[in-house]
């Protein structure tokens, strides 16, 4: 699943480590999600959405979307 996590993070000038600390997860988790190697669970996806104050579908995109 594609996502806009890297772009959203860059807009806020956050490092992966900063985002990981805000989400209370490991930096490896952020890296794996950003690169599309791991799709987060629904609870974590909601936490990410809450942090960026965006709906989930504005962060995580269907594979058919560009």
């Amino acid at each position: 699943m594609k996502n806009r996590l890297k772009v959203l993070r860059a807009e806020r000038d956050w490092s992966q480590q900063t985002l990981a600390e805000k989400l209370n997860v490991s930096r490896q988790s952020v890296n794996a999600i950003e690169t599309g190697r791991y799709d987060p669970s629904l609870p974590l996806a909601f936490r990410i959405a809450d942090l960026f104050e965006l709906p989930i579908e504005a962060i995580f995109l269907r594979d058919t979307e560009s």
Binding site: K6, R9, A10, D13, W14, S15, Q16, Q17, A20, E21, V25, S26, R27, Q28, S29, N31, A32, I33, E34, T35, G36, R37, Y38, P40, S41, L44
Partner: protein, 219 residues
Amino acid sequence: MARPIQPLQPDPVGQVTTEAPGRPGLFRRPSTWGASIFLAFGLILLLRITDAIDATTGFILMVAAMTLMFPLVKTALARQKAQGYLSPAITRYNRRFLLASFGYVLGLGLAVTINDRVALSDGETILIALLPIIPVFGMIWTMARYIVEEEDEYLRHRAIMASLTGLGLVLTFGTFWGFLETFEVVPHIWAWWVFPAWAIGMGISQCWLAFRDRTGGRS
């Protein structure tokens, strides 16, 4: 002289932000202590096979070599902390596994020593065999508890994938070897090898996944 660990580099959008430019000193690297343990065990095994040392000396040396686990765990935890995240579940896992490993070396040494020197009944032999078996059960329980206790879902996912890789290796190799053994092509292998074989498969998988995380690659 050991160089200090460099601070994390500010890289707001980089794929990997934890690769510090400076490497820690030789004695602060987990790889140094891991290699030392393998070398020490290899050397003791060689001395024992060539009958340069007796079983008791070999046992004492093995216990001594096991103390290298302390700096290995300490440097590994320090490295994880320097990389920005140290899961409480990993800390508990390391402490439990270290205890179980010591229990295993002590239990195995005692069991072999007693079995070699004392004539035991079948029942007594089973009890003696439990000395190394119980710590191995402790290791398996420790691994299971880690998966239960790890709150970071990606690290938990990684551990589960590594466990399945180890299981796949054991099933594949065990089936392959078992049939060759049935047709008397290869010698017999004791069944307790399943645990080390599983752990090796798990370790290889964890190394690969950690490498992929460091490089930010996609499988």
